[in-house]
């Protein structure tokens, strides 16, 4: 059994779909945080999910953009740790807008030729979880 010690202050992201943790590591830009010890646990056994991934990050609270996480998978459990204990379990919501996480695939979109533009997607249908490109309105999902 793999043993990873607890963290003093930071986040434990639990119930990540197995195999998704590395993408989330990059999307949350955890690699850009200074001196933050991170543990990525892949394919941990889970009663609820069969297998799951977990990310533990030792970092100041509020250094992660949880909006992005809500967009990636709002079923992920976010535990906020302070003083070696869970002080909050934060629920995730679909963000109204996501910036520079996904790219518009429409070859006719202005973002296809003006690379410096932010890639912005807007939540247009919360019920169906539909995001559309802010510029050309191409559907993402």
């Amino acid at each position: 059994m793999l043993n990873i010690s607890g963290i003093h202050e930071g986040y434990v992201l639990d119930h990540i779909k197995a195999g998704m943790s590395l993408q989330i590591y990059h999307d949350l830009k955890i690699d850009e945080l200074d001196h933050c010890t991170t543990a990525i646990i892949m394919n941990a056994k889970s009663n609820k999910m069969g297998y799951k991934d977990i990310i533990k990050v030792e970092c100041p609270i509020d250094s992660l953009d949880l909006d992005i996480l809500g967009f990636i998978d709002h079923n992920i459990t976010v535990n906020i740790i302070k003083g070696d204990a869970i002080v909050e379990k934060r629920s995730l919501h679909l963000p109204k807008e996501v910036k520079n996480v996904i790219k518009c695939k429409n070859p006719r979109c202005i973002t296809s030729i003006e690379q410096e533009l932010d890639q912005i997607f807007v939540l247009t249908d919360p019920e169906e979880e539909v995001y559309r490109c802010k510029y050309c309105e191409e559907k993402y999902r």
Binding site: N106, R108, C109, I110, T111, S112, I113, E114, E116, L117, D125, C133, K134, Y135, C136, E137, E138, K139
Partner: protein, 310 residues
């Protein structure tokens, strides 16, 4: 800063006010001859367009203003690689309002986010063409007296035609509208129009193939051109292009007060023999496009002045 990117940027009440103003311009053009004296419209057209560009320029000239601009990307700094954001920053210091057409979807929105002057989307790829929709709405309202309680037939390329999609989006906000969507099966409206716009708003509609069968029930027939540039292979285009040809014979099936509209240019989907029919209103529609653009320029310039004074 108020811009126009989509016909849905205006509420129904704002659209009514805009159309009231266009109606007044139509009836009393002499009152507006000097309304924009000292103001300049920049027409930034990154792809060729005869009608829309000239319509904007005519509108500004009729208002007593000046016009500057370019008519293709080749004759602009875009050919040197300048971004839309940089171009609009410069244009903002040359003109008071800008009409922009661009082949890339969302380009006018990018321009509006960097602009110090109002930007009007004059067509961005297959995405939006709001002033065409304003023209269509104004023509219908002006000639029929109302936008409520109409049965509207949309005929031809309903799949790729942006004017059709915008018009449906705009008309579903009015009361008791019914659509008859006339197209070959390959060119039916996209599912997001059918599901997200028509079904979601409980708008009655039929999808049919026969123009003849639909004719007797229509109050408005909106014809569209099958556009060669939308097809990946010539064979499909040739098969579709003459699918519907409106001629005298078909016009005999229509109501006496039915109206035929077309965003123009026409190729052969309306036979020239129909032009003399009093119900053929597509050239009048082009004229009305100037009035509504005049009203739009005035309204956006006033909004910009209010912003500045505030």
């Amino acid at each position: 800063m108020r811009h126009l990117m989509s016909p849905m940027d205006f509420t129904v009440e704002e659209l009514d006010a805009l159309m009231d103003r266009a109606e007044d311009i139509k009836n009393h053009p002499e009152n507006y001859n000097h309304a924009c004296e000292g103001k300049t419209l920049a027409t930034c057209f990154y792809e060729p367009s005869t009608r829309t560009r000239l319509s904007f320029e005519a509108a500004m000239i009729n208002l007593g203003g000046d016009v500057l601009g370019f008519a293709s990307a080749d004759s602009s700094s875009a050919a040197k690689g300048e971004s839309v954001s940089d171009t609009i920053r410069v244009i903002s210091s040359y003109a008071d309002i800008c009409a922009m057409r661009h082949p890339k979807e969302g380009a006018p929105l990018v321009a509006s986010s960097r602009s110090k002057i109002p930007v009007i989307n004059a067509g961005d790829g297959g995405h939006q063409h709001p002033t065409q929709t304003l023209t269509d709405l104004f023509t219908i309202r002006s000639l029929r007296g109302t936008l409520d309680g109409l049965t509207i037939g949309l005929c031809g390329d309903l799949k790729f035609g942006r004017t059709v999609h915008s018009l449906i989006n705009a008309l579903v906000r009015y009361n008791n509208i019914k659509f008859i969507l006339i197209s070959p099966p390959e060119l039916r409206v996209p599912s997001y129009i059918r599901e997200d716009v028509l079904c979601k708003n409980n708008i009655p509609f039929e999808e049919v193939k026969s123009l003849e069968d639909a004719m007797p029930s229509l109050d408005i027939l909106y014809m569209t051109r099958v556009q060669r540039e939308r097809f990946f292979n010539e064979e499909d285009y040739l098969r579709m292009k003459d699918f519907y040809i409106l001629d005298k014979e078909k016009m005999e099936l229509a109501k006496k007060d039915m109206m035929v509209l077309h965003p123009l240019p026409r190729v052969n989907e309306i036979s020239v023999e129909v032009d003399d029919d009093p119900r053929a209103m597509y050239f009048t529609q082009a004229q009305y496009g100037v009035y509504i653009r005049m009203a739009l320029i005035l309204t956006l310039l006033e909004a910009a002045k209010e912003d500045k004074d505030a």
